[in-house]
């Protein structure tokens, strides 16, 4: 009972501090909005087809014409005429994803068997540059393939005793290019969903990454308030005073843990509801599963807060440890960017992180459309981490007290 009183005291102190609301609610919401917007725009560019610059110095060339025709059929990019003088600036400014320059004599020299280099101005570090490069490379392969086919045909015809002139060579290349026009392969892409879903998961909603990501990140960051209370209690003499009462150490620890859990859970709940109603992240399709993940996350965050509170010697250290924890767990756990896109070692380490399991739990609900069974393992891992952090915190608390 006294632990509950202690917990209420802690919660009252936290909620009385208006600045707590800044860290607990306002900042995570703003960050969610921002990051969701950023992810969304990144995966769905304003114009689905990338603008690519076209500089053709090979006027009248068969292959360059074929290449142009191929690229104009593309669903990925659209061509825009440009000049060499403008090319660099337009790519740098992002107005063009890339600029392809066909050198003078490209068609004829290629058909003659010479190696002619094409120039592609693109920033591979950007997704648009990378996508443009891939699409252009495939088209260039087809164009060169048409040329090679023409040369092979010409070789065969000459071997049979007939002559092949330049016009015939061009004719053959055109024929090969036309043959490439018919797509050889179609893909049907399905995103896996659980069977008994009544509504389709919004897999393409960028807030399905941003919302749980920020819940996880700020679950750790929000500990600053709770951990600070522990530190201040030690510094202002109230903790020694508490220990002179008949309250046991276990009760003191339980009280503080309960407060931290309550604050963390409440924060998570607000962010889940914001995600549900403001950002269309459908947590409530599986309310019990969401509750399980949220509770496990809050418990881990609370135990981490206890550990920080017992380790930190001053207010500055609380902020330092909380921020370090936030950065580490968020980055390694896939809260900032999906672990799919990172190096193998990083991903392997990340998958042990409690934050990664929290993300998995939430995304199983939001994106994979799965139910309670899918969150049991993530919740178990979170609880194991909570037990570990809590154990360390208790050991430390007893040692100090």
């Amino acid at each position: 009972m006294r632990s509950i009183e202690l917990a209420f005291k802690d919660i009252k102190q936290i909620l009385r501090d208006k600045k707590s609301l800044l860290f607990l609610v306002l900042m995570p919401l703003v960050f969610t909005l921002f990051m969701g917007f950023a992810y969304g725009q990144m995966s769905q560019p304003e114009d689905p087809r990338l603008a690519v610059g076209w500089i053709n110095l090979d006027e009248g060339g068969t292959l360059s014409a074929a290449l142009r025709t191929d690229l104009e059929r593309s669903e990925v990019l659209r061509l825009e005429e440009t000049t060499p003088e403008q090319a660099g600036r337009l790519v740098q400014n992002g107005k063009l994803a890339a600029v392809l320059t066909i050198p003078d004599g490209f068609s004829q020299k290629t058909l003659d068997g010479e190696v002619i280099y094409l120039d592609l101005l693109a920033d591979r570090a950007t997704s648009s540059g990378s996508m443009a490069e891939q699409a252009i490379r495939a088209a260039v392969v087809r164009a060169l393939s048409a040329a090679e086919t023409a040369r092979l045909a010409a070789d065969l015809i000459r071997a049979g005793g007939s002559a092949v002139d330049a016009a015939a060579l061009r004719q053959a290349a055109k024929a090969a290019s036309r043959a490439w026009a018919a797509p050889a392969l179609g893909f049907t892409i399905e995103k896996a969903q659980a069977d008994n879903q009544t509504t389709a998961p919004a897999g393409d909603n960028p807030f399905n990454q941003a919302s749980p990501g920020m819940i996880v990140q700020f679950a750790v960051f929000g500990l600053i308030n709770s951990a600070m209370l522990l530190v201040l209690e030690r510094q202002n003499g109230c903790l020694p005073r508490l220990l002179t009462t008949s309250m046991s150490r276990a009760e003191v620890i339980a009280g503080h843990l309960l407060a931290m859990f309550a604050v963390s859970f409440l924060q998570g709940l607000i962010l889940v509801l914001a995600g549900q109603f403001a950002f269309e992240a459908d947590y409530l399709r599986q309310p019990l599963a969401t509750l399980i993940v949220l509770s496990a996350l809050a418990l881990w965050a609370a135990s981490l807060g206890m550990l920080i509170g017992t380790l930190a010697q001053g207010e500055d250290q609380v902020i330092l440890y909380a921020m370090a924890g936030m950065f580490l767990f968020s980055a390694l756990g896939g809260a900032w960017f999906p672990l799919e896109g990172v190096g193998r070692t990083f991903a392997a380490i990340g998958r042990w992180m409690p934050s990664a399991h929290a993300m998995t739990g939430f995304q199983n609900i939001l994106i994979r459309g799965q139910g309670i069974n899918s969150v049991l393992l993530p919740a178990a891992v979170l609880l194991a981490w909570a037990a570990g952090c809590f154990g360390l915190a208790v050991w430390r608390f007893k040692k100090e007290a």
Partner: protein
């Protein structure tokens, strides 16, 4: 001289604080290090060599008719070849249900379903062959790379088919009789040429399609990882520079609460000089921080920050801006306890507006870019992106002047407010 004494005293106190040193130097380097560690596997434009494993469950229903080759089997063999990326692990499964279940259980990232008419469709060109790709909806890179690899395979087959058909057709038109051995020879020659072309495009130092990165002077394309790291580190330098500026300015509040500021005011040193001494310490600290971070990141991560004069200009103007911003921010605070969270919130918020947390992302909408102009961090980010791209000092003059102007304006306002408060 007394300004120096006061500034030196402040600097001594700051550099003795583990927290301050941690936030000034360790944190930005660590975060960038994390990013480097995370994305180190994405070197190169083809999706990289060190991505996390993508398990592919292949279901091969292909039943070619007549003498048609078993392209479905070839596809399976192709995906299981040693030359495939290490992270691609392809296994055959018995049926579609098993494969889909594997995706649901996250045992496989993608299920690739090869239909019964795959070979026939590919070889006939009457209608396109169709594959079904069932993917884990949280993945995007792996499935996209797999689709590209499959398209490469298919293009190779299609190319050979087209070569065979066109060669035959052209020979016929030229009145030359070709037999199947001739055609096979030509097709084989095509296949060799195709393999050579792929090697040239993906592994040669002089590919036929030469990709150049847009930069001043048209420099050769750089490692994209360095590009991401450069932008990320720039974001970190700017964020922590502003954080340090504000934290350092807190020393005025701290001295006020500890009583040493009042004591300073009882000495013969004029108040204006006392404040100037403290402000100088803030400026020196952020300037030193910027210099150390730039040097350290160049050494550790190999980031090429650009031309020295450009870098120096930007570092100086950034330091002016972060000093002024910090002083202005603290001039409105009444106590240390109040200032801590406000600093965290304001610096994070303005950092976000300035695009510091999305530095490595591309294709952000125009609205974002407009918003960044409202805060000094946005201008700083602009300047550093130009520097990373090799801009000359004249090219960064606008962001430098705006930063310096903002810094001086913030400083003047903040200093005036402090003087009024402490008069």
């Amino acid at each position: 001289m007394k300004i120096l004494d006061i500034a030196l005293k402040d600097l001594t106190q700051s550099f003795r604080s583990l927290f301050a040193v941690g936030m000034m130097f360790a944190a930005p380097l660590l975060i960038t290090g994390l990013i480097y560690f995370a994305f180190g596997g994405l070197a190169g434009g083809e999706g990289g060599n060190d991505l996390p494993d993508l398990n592919v469950a292949i279901v091969n229903h292909d039943r070619p008719t007549g003498d048609n080759p078993r392209l479905g089997e070839l596809l399976v063999d192709y995906l299981q070849e040693d030359s495939m990326p290490d992270w691609l692990v392809a296994r055959e499964m018995l049926d579609e249900t098993t494969a889909r279940a594997a995706v649901d259980r996250r045992e496989a990232g993608v299920a690739l379903i090869v239909p019964a008419d795959f070979s026939d469709a590919l070889l006939s060109a009457d209608h396109p062959a169709s594959l079904t790709l069932v993917q884990d909806p949280t993945l995007s890179i792996g499935p996209a790379v797999l689709a590209d690899l499959v398209r490469l395979f298919v293009d190779g087959i299609s190319g050979a088919r087209i070569a065979s058909e066109v060669i035959s057709e052209q020979a016929q038109q030229a009145g030359v009789a070709v037999n199947s051995a001739d055609l096979q020879g030509a097709t084989a020659a095509y296949a060799v040429w195709y393999a050579d072309l792929q090697r040239n495009l993906h592994h040669s130092g002089q590919p036929i399609l030469a990709v150049r990165r847009p930069a001043a002077g048209g420099q050769a394309s750089e490692d994209p990882i360095k590009t991401i790291l450069g932008a990320t580190m720039a974001g970190m330098v700017i964020f922590f520079n502003f954080f340090t500026g504000a934290s350092a300015a807190q020393s005025i509040l701290r001295e006020q609460e500890e009583g040493t500021l009042a004591r300073l005011f009882t000495t013969p040193v004029p108040r204006a000089l006392i404040l100037l001494g403290k402000f100088s310490a803030v400026f020196v600290m952020v300037l030193v921080q910027a210099a150390v971070l730039l040097a350290a990141s160049a050494l550790i991560f190999g980031i090429n920050w650009g031309r020295p004069a450009t870098v120096a200009l930007l570092a100086f103007s950034l330091s002016l801006a972060s000093t002024g911003f910090g002083i202005l921010l603290l001039s409105g605070m009444q106590s240390l306890r109040q200032s801590g969270p406000v600093i965290g919130g304001v610096i994070s918020g303005t950092g976000m507006m300035g695009g510091l947390f999305t530095a490595g992302m591309a294709n952000l909408p125009k609205a974002f870019n407009t918003v960044t102009l409202l805060v000094p961090q946005g201008w700083a980010m602009r300047g550093w992106k130009l520097a990373l791209a090799g801009a000359a000092p004249a090219e960064v003059l606008l962001p430098v002047l705006v930063l310096a102007g903002m810094g001086l304006a913030f400083f003047a306002t903040g200093a005036a407010l402090f003087r009024r408060r402490l008069a």
